[in-house]
Point group: C2
Chain length 409, copies 2
């Protein structure tokens, strides 16, 4: 009775562990007796409407395991955000191929696509089980303790700032690192986990959950620099003014720079170094600090091979497996969610698609310090177990000063 | 007879393993019976003239081992490039503190400082043993097979491009990564070690050893993009035109952008994203490719904590140890050099300071492909063992296409 045909696809920005979820689906589906074929769509929904499918039933489990530990989307991804007409096409293809179960690994846009396709199938009376599998480095899915992909990206950001802080301590000045995240500051906030000693950076953290004011920013930087002789700053690419206007757009306008906009009319925030450069320029010219360096972490933070959280790997695999188990046992469509059950343990639940689809989570106020430029211990407690085992640690020489001979006072 | 006083300092840009060399010096010096005190100067030569010393004889060997595995310069560093008068001050301080052995860990500028101080001591008849210990991510010291710090930075660059290639394959477009290295392209060339499958990126590599022509660059990118539907590019920050003018300066001039210059009048190449942004802008506007993303690896490539070559760690430790052994046994000043003795093994030699000081090595022609935009197998053979064990590997799903139903041709 191996009659079921499964389809799995990956959408949105790749992560370090998105293939764990893919392989979780494929291996668990291949274990189900009623499953005959497991297809993968290339480049997400775009590949579905183009019927660009690969037969994953032909893939060895050994190679699947190796693909699972490879970052980025092995099936390819897409930035397409389907509207109702697009979703109708998706449904037509699924129907033509007699797909019985559709699994889509992605963020909140992807969950919304699954919700619409699920509705189409129900309206047409076509028996299709639709399951959304969470994934996003932004960690902005509601109803989830966190999302697969975020822990590994957070680990990269924490390690990057731990190193940048050491570099900045050796050659003092101002260092500013711009981190991904348009609406949610979780990934930028992860920079705080790179701190160890009390005077370590990042000394200032700017999140999209708080309004960014250039004058206050400059005063903050000056205060830290006056105190420590150096300053390490983490900035979210999504910082904005009180009107919600991105700071990048505001600073660039003053320079009459052209900015790229996406299909939704949003300013393209990633993929260039403009925000870091513009903020560094302000620090240099206004605060008269000579050594000011800015890095934009860019695609490294989500694609770097060899910086992954083992907790993230395990959970990403499990949400894929659980998706298949829910599909065959729960009797309804839904979105797989991660719920924290202990310190540290998790359980998985199947939520209604409408509970997750198209919604955006941001950082709780309890995670952000009162002054708005640091995180709280509650956030450290939340994030630390997600980063996994083997986090590198930084050590210092102890100060044992030698008496001066020539320069006595 | 524990009468000798040792001084060790670190100069120039930090690396992932520079503290291995520091700890190699300290632990080996503390084993020598004639050594009474081991001092470290904070922030390189700047700390010497300021007599800003710490007593490393008071440090536990356990903490020293932990510091050894921490990236960046634990003693602090400096960009000061001493002239004769500055070196005279250094010598006066060494004399006042009765320092008998001076070890300076750094690149070619640092070796030149050691050379001048060595000459001062000789001219004054003061018995001072001066040893330069190699360090630079640029790998641009002559007479060395390679320099400590380069292998770990090269590993970061290779891993970064391996991941960026996977990301670019998932969401196709043009990806351009700018890598450090003003004169020598070794670090940029290391991006080639991130390639595995024949169509993997980086598809194009631009080195400072070759003249950069914007029109040829655009034609190269177009050819790759037309063939693969995507293009991953590695660019050295030091690319320049036929007259030796940095491309950054040239592109920025067209935009009337102000650029920072260092003490030597060189354009500040690192610490901003301008070159990547300007090249991406050219690709977008001239080639009409919509998805073009640029990253500048910036300080991450030399400071990232948790991406280190075990071969680099071992060798960085050994050059520190050997420096002390040479100092007490060789009977002359010099610069410790790494010589390759097998595949893969190395030996260490003490070279005259004048053989290394102030000279710059660039990539051999045998390492660069004829078309100038790739490396040769000779380079792969050279670099691979330096990257160390446990390099992450990338795997793919095999193509098993499913026949189309709705879109038959």
């Amino acid at each position: 009775m191996a009659s079921c045909k499964i389809l799995v696809a990956q959408g949105g920005g790749p992560t370090a562990v998105i293939n764990q979820s893919l392989v979780g689906v494929v291996l668990e589906a291949r274990r189900q007796h009623q499953v005959g074929l497991v297809y993968g769509a290339r480049h997400g929904v775009r590949g579905i409407v183009a019927e660009d499918f690969v037969d994953l039933t032909q893939e060895t489990s050994h190679n699947l395991e190796l693909v699972a530990s490879t970052p980025s989307s092995a099936l390819g991804s897409t930035r397409d955000k389907p509207d109702a007409a697009y979703c109708h096409k998706i449904f037509q293809v699924l129907q033509a191929h007699e797909i019985s179960h559709f699994f889509y690994i992605g963020g909140n846009d992807s969950s919304d696509t699954v919700r619409i396709v699920s509705g189409e199938a129900a309206a047409a009376g076509y028996p299709l089980r639709c399951i959304h599998i969470p994934k996003t480095i932004d960690n902005d899915l509601v109803e989830n303790d966190h999302t697969p992909g975020f822990p590994s990206a957070a680990r990269f950001v924490a390690q990057a700032f731990a190193g940048a802080n050491l570099d900045n301590a050796a050659l003092p000045g101002v260092y500013l690192g711009v981190v991904m995240g348009r609406h949610a500051g979780f990934l930028t906030a992860a920079s705080a986990l790179g701190k160890k000693f009390p005077d370590d950076g990042p000394h200032l953290i700017y999140l999209p959950e708080r309004v960014f004011e250039l004058e206050r920013f400059l005063a903050d930087v000056k205060a830290v620099f006056d105190r420590h002789g150096r300053c390490v700053i983490a900035v979210s690419e999504g910082i904005h003014d009180a009107a919600g206007q991105p700071i990048l757009a505001q600073l660039a306008k003053d320079l009459a720079k052209d900015l790229e906009h996406d299909a939704h009319g949003n300013v393209q925030l990633s993929g260039n170094g403009a925000l870091a450069d513009l903020l560094c320029e302000e620090i240099k010219t206004r605060l008269k600090i000579s050594r000011v360096r800015g890095d934009t972490f860019g695609y490294l933070q989500r694609s770097f091979i060899g910086c992954v959280s083992d907790v993230d790997q395990r959970e990403a695999r499990e949400v894929g497996e659980k998706a298949v188990q829910f599909a065959f046992n729960a009797g309804r469509d839904g979105s797989v969610a991660i719920k924290r059950s202990g310190y540290y343990s998790v359980d998985y639940e199947l939520l209604p698609l409408s509970a997750v689809a198209g919604k955006t989570r941001v950082m709780d106020d309890a995670f952000i310090s009162d002054n708005g430029t640091d995180v709280t211990d509650a956030f450290r407690l939340y994030l630390r177990p997600l980063l996994g085992s083997g986090m590198p640690d930084a050590f210092r020489l102890r100060p044992n000063p030698v008496a001066k001979i020539l320069n006595k006072n």
